[in-house]
């Protein structure tokens, strides 16, 4: 039996902007088992990062607010947790890798000290020297020689800085790692090194990971499960195999059609027309209907539910079940 570590139910997060409401995350359900990697894929403004901030209890309030739903982590509802409880969990049990390593680090602090700080904070009673020793070990773990403990972030290249950010996140052996576009700012060869490192560490430490990205290539390499998010809603969710080989939602199909391929012959791309709807003014029915080629009147009338179209494969589309032969 797989053990559930994180369960998000009906999570809704909104930002109030002047006189209107920005519906960033709408009734999201997600589940993550121990040791598993879930890829959360979507475009800019889809609500990916807001979900991660929600889990961390870091949604800026005001203007943001968790309006409803629960985030159950290891039996505790993080939405109702007190600030003190959250402070103890953040960095120790759940930690986050940010997209931009250039801004995630403190430029005037030695990198080793930035790692030590986390360790000291979560291990009361540990001596400074012990914490420093552990920080050195963590540096070595991500492939940076411990001699570089006393250097500052500007002395490292982009890939190395991201390794330090990973070291800070892993310093307390968290159970859950939220990685928000961890390799987007890096060159492909460096990205390959960092992904390899993350995969290795995850296996070694049995950490669960929520990988937020827009890159379906990265997801194919890293994730067992995938959730596709569009305009704050999960539109398709399942095993990687469901998403890649048995794509059900037209938006997911559109994403694949937009990707030029290194492997195949050059064929014209089939992009999704139009733009994502304004989160201040979401359509009443299916959020994707205005851009969808298959959209019918029924799609526009009322919200479309997320339906399990095969064991473990969920899709939010009225026409998902009609496609013949997907499961033959």
């Amino acid at each position: 039996m797989e053990k559930e570590l994180l369960k998000i139910s009906d999570l809704t997060i909104q930002y109030s902007v002047e006189n209107s409401v920005c519906q960033a995350v709408n009734h999201v359900d997600l589940k993550l088992n121990r040791g598993e990697t879930l890829g959360l894929v979507g475009e800019t403004g889809a609500g990916k990062t807001t979900i991660a901030l929600g889990i961390m209890g870091l949604v800026p309030d005001p203007p943001g607010r968790i309006v409803g739903g629960t985030i159950t982590f290891d039996g505790l509802d993080l939405v109702k947790a007190t600030k003190k409880e959250l402070r103890e969990i953040r960095g120790k049990k759940i930690s986050m890798i940010f997209q931009d390593p250039m801004t995630a680090l403190n430029p005037i602090d030695k990198v080793g000290d930035q790692i030590r700080e986390v360790i000291e904070l979560h291990n009361k009673g540990m001596s400074k020297a012990e914490a420093a020793k552990k920080a050195c070990d963590t540096l070595e773990l991500v492939g940076i020689p411990a001699e570089r403990y006393d250097e500052y972030p500007h002395q490292f290249s982009g890939g190395m800085k991201q390794r330090i950010v990973i070291a800070i996140a892993l310093a307390c052996n968290p159970e859950l790692l939220l990685a928000d576009e961890p390799t987007t700012a890096l060159d492909v060869t460096i990205q390959a090194q960092v992904l390899e490192l993350m995969n290795g560490l995850k296996r070694k430490l049995n950490t669960s990971m929520l990988l937020i990205t827009h890159d379906l290539g990265v997801v194919a390499e890293m994730c067992e499960k995938v959730a596709i998010i569009y305009a704050g809603e999960i539109v398709e969710y399942g095993e990687a195999e469901h998403i890649y080989d048995r794509t059900a939602h037209p938006y997911t199909e559109g994403l694949f059609g937009s990707l030029p391929s290194v492997a195949d012959e050059r064929t014209r791309l089939t992009p999704i027309g139009g733009l994502m709807p304004d989160p201040m003014n979401l359509p009443k029915g299916c959020k994707f209907a205005p851009r969808c080629k298959k959209a019918a009147e029924a799609c526009k009338e009322q919200p479309v539910p997320l339906v399990e179209i095969a064991p473990g494969h969920f899709c939010r589309c009225l026409f998902a079940e009609e496609k013949e032969g997907r499961y033959e």
Partner: protein, 318 residues
């Protein structure tokens, strides 16, 4: 076939407090009219500098550039303004390359006003026409950049470049800042425009799948040097340089059944300041031998149209 643009032994060095930075080091190539040369490489390999030197936004250190059969390495003032019209650039960041205080039409109109010779009525017509060409609805005419999304902003950048009716455009990472669904729209637009107007592109990018999609020929750069150049098809079918191989194998493929034969490179780019003799890739190359550290390899044509700069190319690829 005659080439629209011909570059010979082009070098661009920057003086820095620590010595000479070899940003572009002895690069030669030609692009036939109506074709696209893709330039790929990692950040800091000199690909953007190359584009800017060709456009005379930066002066070259040595080497020659000829355009439409004419040497334009050191153009006079009149020649330069003619070149400015024929050669345009589309920048990477549609957020930073537009003036936030100018509306869409003002931005597109600006270059037309600079060249002179057009009445204001003609300018208005032209702005309308070019907005339609790039798919910008006329209701955005008086919008400011901050009111538009990234895809539309990049369309303004393209419209601004097209307004001058250039025949050559340097596209410097034009889709890197965009989401995939929008990226695909812009790439298709650029291909359509190329066909309609017989445009010649230099397409600078770090994204290998994009470069494969859009280019006829591809040049791979590493620390200012061209390490391999080949037709797009040939490069992906049979990459010969160890750097190209590593680069291609590093691209994550959106297919869960894809078999990875990853060539993991150790280390990162070395400094392009006062580079040591020898192959610049040697420090990261899994095959490097003593010779590679001593002597710079020269470009060799391995098969027609496929040039590689590597001492061991024949040895490694039989």
């Amino acid at each position: 076939m005659s080439n629209l643009l011909e570059v010979q032994n082009l070098k661009k060095y920057f003086e820095t407090p620590r010595g000479l930075l070899h940003a572009v080091d002895d690069v030669s190539f030609g692009i036939p009219k109506g074709k696209t040369l893709g330039v790929v490489g990692e950040s800091g390999c000199g690909k953007s500098t190359l584009g800017r030197v060709i456009l005379h936004l930066l002066d070259s250190t040595s080497g020659s550039i000829s355009f439409e059969g004419e040497d334009v390495t050191n153009p006079g003032k009149t020649k330069l303004s003619e070149l400015r019209r024929k050669m345009q650039i589309i920048f990477q960041d549609p957020y930073a390359s537009l003036n936030p205080r100018m509306t869409v039409t003002q931005t597109i109109r600006e270059p037309l006003k600079q060249t002179g010779g057009l009445s204001s009525g003609q300018i208005y017509d032209k702005v309308d026409a070019v907005m339609e060409t790039v798919g910008l609805a006329s209701r955005f005419a008086e919008s400011y950049p901050h009111e538009l999304d990234g895809g539309r902003r990049q369309r303004i950048g393209i419209a601004r470049a097209l307004a001058m009716e250039p025949n050559f455009i340097v596209c410097d990472e034009p889709v890197s800042a965009l989401d995939v669904s929008i990226q695909a729209q812009i790439l298709n637009l650029m291909l359509d425009l190329q066909q309609e107007r017989e445009l010649t592109y230099i397409f600078i990018t770090h994204d290998l799948s994009v470069v494969k999609y859009i280019s006829d020929d591809i040049m791979v750069m590493y620390l200012g040097k061209m390490v391999e150049k080949c037709s797009s098809k040939g490069l992906f079918a049979e990459p010969l340089h160890p750097y190209t191989k590593a680069l291609l194998s590093a691209v994550p493929v959106p297919d869960i059944h894809h078999k990875k034969k990853r060539v993991l490179m150790t280390g990162e780019l070395t400094s392009p300041i006062n580079p040591k003799p020898g192959c610049r890739f040697a420090a990261r190359c899994p095959h490097a031998k003593e010779l590679c550290l001593k002597e710079s390899p020269v470009l060799e044509e391995i098969s027609p149209g496929h040039v590689v700069s590597c001492h061991l190319v024949r040895e490694m690829n039989h």
